[in-house]
Symmetry: C2
Subunit: 129 residues, 2 copies
DNA sequence: GTAGGCCTTCCCATTACTGGAAGGTCAAGC
DNA sequence: GCTTGACCTTCCAGTAATGGGAAGGCCTAC
């Protein structure tokens, strides 16, 4: 299977698939013409990667999860730990964004948004808020 | 004022302040010895930048906000628009993270996390969830 | 044989820094 | 006067995870 078809099936851009090969996440065979020849296993891995990435796992998380996925003797405790740590970082990001949102939302609501002088947003940014 | 003191006052690393000069956000004078010589205005700008960055504005947003801040004839409508667009992008990010969180949280709770075979997390990632 | 649509590699750009090397400057202490 | 150490300088490279685009090979159809 050529990279174009794999891209379609996995939902990943061809560029990204080549990158994943570069960093060793997949190792497709090569045809005589030099084209990458993807097997079913490769496609499965790429689907796995696409899903994991869409859940926000980093590439290194993905590498670990993929190793666990391929490890017949894996303990799901290891998987759970990676996922829980990621969940924690998602929670921290949400909290951070919510704090930004609260502050900024307040400033935006207090800004009349016309030509009158005095803008609460600029005043806050300037340290006089 | 040397960069070290400015770093302390603004809360920004010296490295970051040099970077901001590089990209034209501040233009400190230079002393005879080649050291950057920051004035009060520079410090104000850097405090402004630190605050705006902490609210998640991009560097280019900051550049625009700084220009508006320095523009005596500015309309707060312009400021408000930048802020509102940023608020929208924060909201989109939060929504995205919350979706990830919901899915992953569900998977984590369903994963027993021991040595028994079958891990809902891996099964989801593999497309069999 | 040629047009187009694939595929290949390679290098550069992105965002907002961060780290580190190599070297100049300054103030203090001996 | 000399050294030490803290500060400053520039420049180069790296981060995460791609995306863009050039230059060129391959493949199929007309």
């Amino acid at each position: 299977m050529n990279i174009g078809e794999v891209a379609e099936q996995s939902g990943l851009p061809a560029k990204t698939i080549r990158y994943y090969e570069d960093i060793g996440l997949v190792r497709p065979a090569r045809g005589e013409n030099g084209y990458r020849a993807f097997g079913e296993t490769d496609v499965h891995k790429l689907v796995f990667l696409a899903r994991a990435r869409s859940l926000g796992f980093t590439i290194e998380d993905c590498r670990a999860l993929l190793a666990l996925y391929e490890d017949r003797a894996r303990a799901s405790a290891d998987v759970k730990q990676v996922a829980q740590e990621h969940l924690g970082s998602i929670e921290r990001k949400i909290t951070e964004l919510q704090a930004m949102h609260a502050t900024l939302s307040d400033l935006v609501h207090r800004c009349h948004g016309d030509d009158r002088p005095g803008c609460p947003i600029l005043e806050d940014l300037a340290g006089r808020g």
